[in-house]
């Protein structure tokens, strides 16, 4: 058994890796990108003809590694022709570039960062066109910048800060080396010379060894940056308020957990007796009525029930007996603990009803069929034959075995409830995981969405393992050896 558990847990690691890879690819390949408002805001203030990306957006992208390729980084292979083409599209040299392509080209150029420097130098030295040369000088000034590594690091040492200060000086130096299209021959030559000189001196920055290439290929990507953070249990920060995702997750999870755990508790509290009752009264009128009722309950869409309850019980059309939305009242500081609990219960009654009834219907059907399966078996007949009372036969002999399917369902119920709670939390304004997830997707807060998807996947993985183990625990006929 121990061996089996260890094997399963070890198998989880590659599965989790594959899950994260899949989610990552799906998310990053979807159209649209975070921080689009920043990008758009920059565009308006820029010189329309020749302009580099706006700095805030570039910084934002660097901070979240969004300037890197998703899975594999081939930028060390970047050819000079490619840079030249992209540059001419970015500055609309032909005058016929589509606006979308122009913006995209600017994006690509700024994403290339350091890797585009040799190509840009080439353009600067060889291009005949003054516009191209001027643009390449400007892009050089921004692409050759060195990143300040310790800007937001509170624990940085003096040496770190000195190094950063040197980088800052370097950036200031190169930022002066630009010229406009109509600049004099002299200044153009001066700038070109200083860039050529600069490139010569720092040649080793753009010659890559095999190890460096491999390093760039696999490590310098969004996915590996994300994973290296993940290994430290760092899910990144939310784009919105710059708070760590994990902290926020814990906060949201507490709301969702209150709902889902009480839901699971209620489901089991009612479905087991209901199932047993139905199975005992098998094929009677009351069983049929109950079955039909549960079936109807099962088919009721929860968002409809939620919207109806909300409209008819909370909004005063016709009743206003329950609070409309939220997890608790706005001001809870004056309340005693008991009053606070009551307040929460008062708010959660409707969402819990909505989440409970469908699961209740499904589970009591499972309980019914589970019990019906065993009630006809030999050992139950034996128990009856030896004179055990009917109640004891059902409760002690039959129900114990008949409820095994329910036990294993419990493990999968929790992740399912968290996943399914989006709509209910949306309706009742519960600030839980579901609503947070929904808002984050719409705002393209990648880190949050990734984290929620990953953690709910892990919960599912663990749930499946627990279900298998529970099977083996309660049913001695099943063994994994």
């Amino acid at each position: 058994m121990g061996k089996y558990i260890i094997k399963r847990i070890l198998l989880m690691v590659p599965t989790f890796f594959a899950i994260s890879l899949l989610i990552f690819v799906v998310m990053r390949l979807a159209p649209g990108k975070p921080g689009a408002d920043l990008a758009a805001g920059g565009e308006a203030t820029q010189d329309a003809q020749v302009g580099t990306q706006n700095e805030a957006y570039t910084l934002f992208k660097q901070q979240f590694s969004l300037d890197k390729p998703v899975l594999l980084n081939f930028r060390f292979l970047l050819g000079e022709d490619e840079v030249q083409e992209t540059l001419s599209a970015a500055i609309d040299l032909s005058g016929e570039t589509e606006p979308g392509l122009q913006i995209e080209s600017k994006d690509i150029l700024s994403d290339w960062g350091d890797f585009a420097v040799p190509g840009l130098i080439n353009v600067l030295q060889t291009s005949e066109d003054p516009t191209m040369r001027s643009a390449s000088s400007k892009w050089l000034a921004s692409n050759a910048r060195q990143r300040l590594l310790f800007l937001y690091d509170r624990d940085s040492t003096t040496e770190d800060r000195t190094a950063d200060r040197e980088r800052e000086q370097h950036n200031q130096m190169i930022s002066a080396w630009t010229f406009e299209e109509d600049a004099t021959q002299q200044s153009v030559a001066a700038v070109t010379d200083s860039w050529a000189n600069y490139y010569e001196v720092n040649q080793e920055r753009w010659t890559y060894s095999t190890i460096e290439k491999l390093n760039t290929l696999f490590i310098d990507t969004q996915f590996s940056k994300y994973w290296s953070n993940l290994l430290r249990l760092d899910f990144g920060v939310s784009h919105l308020d710059k708070r760590p995702v994990l902290d926020k997750m814990m906060e949201k999870l507490s709301y969702s957990m209150v709902l889902s755990i009480s839901t699971i508790f209620l489901i089991y509290l009612f479905s087991v007796p209901l199932g047993i009752w139905s199975a005992v009264n098998h094929n009677t009128i009351s069983d049929r009525v109950m079955t039909i009722f549960l079936f109807i309950l099962y088919s009721l869409p929860s968002f409809w029930v939620g919207a109806m309850l909300l409209n008819f019980l909370t909004r005063g059309t016709p009743f206003a007996v329950l609070p409309t939305s939220g997890f608790s009242s706005l001001d809870t500081s004056q309340m005693t603990t008991l009053a606070y609990m009551k307040d929460i219960a008062w708010h959660c009654i409707l969402p819990i009803i909505c989440m409970t009834y469908a699961g209740l219907a499904a589970l009591s059907r499972y309980a019914r069929t589970g019990l019906l399966d065993v009630i006809r078996s030999d050992y139950v007949r034996t128990a009856r034959a030896k004179g055990v009372s009917e109640g004891i036969v059902i409760i002690k002999h039959a129900a114990r075995n008949g409820m095994i399917p329910l036990l294993t369902l419990m493990a999968t119920l929790l992740p399912a409830l968290i996943g399914g709670s989006v709509v209910i939390e949306f309706i009742f304004g519960i600030p839980g995981i579901g609503q947070w997830m929904f808002q984050s997707i719409q705002l393209r807060d990648y880190n949050v969405v990734m984290a929620v998807l990953l953690i709910s996947s892990v919960l599912t993985l663990i749930g499946m393992l627990l279900a298998d183990l529970a099977y083996a625990l309660v049913d001695p006929r099943i063994s994994f050896e």
Binding site: P14, T15, A18, I19, L22, I23, V26, M27, A30, P31, G32, F295, I296, Y298, S299, L300, P301, F303, W304, A307, M308, L310, N311, F312, R315, T317, P415, A416, I418, G419, G420, V422, V423, F426, I427, M437, F438, I441, Q442, R444, V449, V452, L453, S456, S457, T460, L461, M464
Partner: protein
């Protein structure tokens, strides 16, 4: 109609026929029919489909006949394939079903009544299976063609593909020779609805008439009906402007001009605005008005099209995917199986609602087809697991070994020998899957992530939720509930019918 029907059947063939007479499908169908609730639910679903198809006959803002001083026009007919009036590809597709389906149905009824016995002495059931399968394929292909060209349904390529599919369906309905006529009819369709080539219609029509007189077959009726329709639309070409005919009528009548018009029973379009917002049920609008001043009844009626399409197509996509992947894993076993199982595990672990929500929301403005494809691509794992399990069970049985010994190709063994025996659980999963796909689409629309050009039930419910108007909550919500209930009952019936323990 071919040589075989005239010759005597050999003894061996007779024996095969006798075995064929009671198939597994017959037993299941017989069991299913015993379950009255499920049986009538199936009819209910059928009725919903019928409603979806004939929706424009019930409700449309375009009059069937429009007579003013300058002449008579038939705006309803030209609106059916007008992208300006029906914005959504799904609607165009259902209108196509209305136009093609009605004559084909009549033709089929006649064929069934008169010619069925003459043509189909041998193995009628197998023939039926082929018929149903091919019709479904035709439908699917039509939808895929619609997906490919849904932005430009009036363009030529989309119609050519649809025409091919139509020909395929016709091929099954009639003899092989008739495929020429079917394709011809399809080509005619392509010509009539492609504005550039409208001029060549007459040539096509003459060819079709020659083909028809050459050999009269049941296909005559649909083709004649089509030609009538095509001729009709040639004189009243598809209009490009959006005219509100009811307004035009009242304006003309005020000006004293005589107008004669025949409108459908409900003379509103599902996107026609201009009524009192959030007004409750009135005699003119028995289901009330929504927030954007549109008639709720018409929206719910046309929403049937959206929901049923989503439900059935999404399930068709993931059942197909699941069967292919699961069958290859189960049949080949070994490394293929291991790899497939890992992939299934990975996809299964991600909560599917979250994943679908993420994809749909990131795409931004999803179309109906996008939603169907996403559901299909995320939900195939369940079916794949079922099929894999069945294949593992079946692949070592004697009939498979026999087929292998006979030297049949693997694809034939998989699809013709093993797969039919493995389909039972898939059918049950599919029946419940349709209901859950419909629910999924409704909840996406409820969250505001649906196709905005489509009159989805969830979208109306969302308006009810945000505005608090009771009729906007009750009507679409009950429709969703009723549809889901019917489909669940059918699924339940199928499951019971498949279960040998339930047989008495």
């Amino acid at each position: 109609m071919t040589v075989t029907t005239k010759t005597e059947l050999t003894d061996a063939e007779k024996r095969i026929d006798a075995v064929d007479d009671v198939t597994y499908g017959d037993i299941v169908w017989g069991q299913f029919k015993k379950n009255k609730v499920a049986y009538w639910s199936l009819w209910g679903v059928g009725t919903l489909f019928l409603l979806a198809i004939v929706a424009p006959i019930i409700a449309s803002a375009r009059p069937f006949v429009w007579t003013v001083e300058s002449g008579t026009t038939y705006p309803w007919f030209s609106s059916l394939f007008d992208r300006n009036y029906y914005e959504n590809g799904v609607d165009i597709f259902f209108n196509l079903l209305l136009v093609l389906g009605t004559p084909m149905f009549i033709g089929w009824m006649i064929w069934k009544k008169n010619l069925h016995k003459k043509i189909e002495k041998k193995r009628p059931r197998r023939r039926m299976v082929v018929l149903v399968a091919t019709s479904l394929t035709t439908l699917l292909f039509g939808v895929f063609a619609g997906m490919l060209f849904h932005e430009s349904m009036s363009l030529f390529p989309g119609w050519i593909i649809l025409a091919g599919c139509f020909g395929l369906g016709v091929k099954v309905l009639a003899a092989k020779r008739q495929v020429v006529i079917g394709l011809l009819a399809g080509a005619l369709l392509a010509i009539i609805f492609s504005p550039i080539l409208k001029g060549t219609l007459f040539v096509g029509a003459i060819l079709a008439i020659i083909g028809l007189t050459y050999k009269s077959r049941p296909i005559v009726i649909p083709v004649v009906a089509l030609i009538g329709l095509l001729l009709g639309s040639i004189f009243h070409p598809v209009s490009q402007e959006y005219v509100v005919y009811s307004d035009a009528q009242s304006a003309l009548e005020e000006a004293g001009e005589p107008v004669e018009s025949i409108f459908p029973v409900v003379p509103y379009s599902f996107r026609g605005t201009g009524f009192n917002p959030l007004e409750g049920p009135t005699p003119e609008h028995i289901f009330g008005i929504d927030q954007s001043t549109r008639d709720v009844g018409v929206r719910v009626l046309f929403g049937t099209r959206i929901s049923l399409t989503i439900g059935f197509i999404a399930v068709a996509i993931y059942v197909t995917l699941g069967i292919i992947i699961g069958a290859s894993a189960g049949f080949y076993g070994g490394k293929v199986d291991l790899a497939v199982q890992r992939v299934i595990e990975v996809v299964m672990c991600i909560p599917s609602f979250f994943l679908i929500l993420t994809v749909i929301a990131l795409v931004g403005k999803p179309s109906i087809f996008m939603i169907m494809a996403t559901i299909g691509l995320v939900r195939w794992t369940g079916v794949a697991r079922l099929v894999r399990g069945e294949f593992l069970r079946l692949r070592n049985q004697d009939f498979v070994t026999a087929a292998q010994a006979l030297g049949f190709p693997t694809s034939r063994i998989i699809f013709q020998h093993v797969l039919p025996n493995a389909l039972g659980p898939v059918l049950v999963a599919a029946a419940f899957g349709v209901a859950s796909a419909i629910l999924l689409e409704s909840s996406l629309a409820f969250l505001g992530l649906g196709d905005l050009s489509a009159p989805s039930w969830g979208q109306t419910l969302q308006e009810g939720y945000s505005s608090g108007a009771w009729h906007l909550i009750l009507i679409p919500g009950f429709t969703i509930f009723f549809t889901v209930l019917l489909l669940n009952l059918v699924g339940e019936g199928v499951r019971d019918a498949m279960d040998p323990k339930m047989r008495k």
